[in-house]
Symmetry: C2
Subunit: 221 residues, 2 copies
Amino acid sequence: MNDVICTVDVILLTIKDGALHVALLKRDRDPYKDVLALPGGFVHVREDADAQAAALRVLKEKTGIDAPYLGQLATFSGPVRDPRGWSMSIAHYALVSHDVIAGAGHPDVALRSVDQLMNLPFDHQAIIDTAVARLRSKSQYSSLPCYLAGDTFTLPQLQRIYEALMGEPLNKVSFRRKMTEMGMLEAVEGQMEVGGAHRPAQLYRLKPALRAQLALLSRGL
Amino acid sequence: MNDVICTVDVILLTIKDGALHVALLKRDRDPYKDVLALPGGFVHVREDADAQAAALRVLKEKTGIDAPYLGQLATFSGPVRDPRGWSMSIAHYALVSHDVIAGAGHPDVALRSVDQLMNLPFDHQAIIDTAVARLRSKSQYSSLPCYLAGDTFTLPQLQRIYEALMGEPLNKVSFRRKMTEMGMLEAVEGQMEVGGAHRPAQLYRLKPALRAQLALLSRGL
């Protein structure tokens, strides 16, 4: 209508080896053919109910992954970010456990540490930087990091994820109090994780009502 | 390119009579001709450097106002929000003191309390609700409300604005400590506000470096 190229890009984030990683894919066409980039694609006006539906569709098509939580990050736009013309990308971020990416088994998905990215095409570096900053900031006062923890997890596992995102150690007692205050977790009855030198630890999961909606803390961690 | 109608809308917010108001304009064309709506317009690919530039241009053209602070809110999209077809609006919010709107003197700008809106076209009610929620949430840990206070203000005036946004009284001592912690204000030398039964109060303004960029609190108010 007004000659704007309308696309969506997905920043799919996960924790691997204790560090935040982003999923990249080799582009299958020009511009930047064969270069690692965020999974993205055009909005399909005959098919997509909105930009979020477009992002979920593109993610599924390109990586085989259904994201339980996908949020809008921001829209990046202008005449120079894409060599094809004035474009906008409505960027969305999704968080999954590493199991989900491994389970999808897509041979072309490459995980890269968000702190060691190089030579990304378009403005994908700026998009990823914005997503990481948003995630780190929201980690202080929401259940967002839980989506990185998988279906079930122990409290020490969850604390390590919060610590990886916030870049600092958290006090165990205060962390457990804040998790209780958010009221987002439920114990998985009878399920304990056994292993190592420690006594068995209770497994938890997100309450069903919070699997697609964030819980918030009125004051940060 | 892919038949998406690309527009920007601006949620221009101000405090009037102690309550948060939004600026609306009668639409000058169909759809919804003569109905009060957010100021908005198409992205102009030959003119606009990005969506934010488009929002600043549209706001200036439609209301005569230059907004010192304008931030991206979110992008609203889909096939049903605009009767003309699959559309997206990259919504931006701007905050100004009531003086700025009065000073621009645009005869068609109508200020409405955000809590008493009715019969808005498109999805403008949802866009405004999202903007108000964002502003109220960000007020807890940022300098954002200062943009509503005008060029200079006393600390009691600023506290009343924070209270209007957060919907609760704030402790005076704790409020002053948080403002000091944010390090965003400077005293205007020699300028005191005189009036009423109180002794003269020091006037403050935002530090120049923060007039277009937010200061943040690591922990909320």
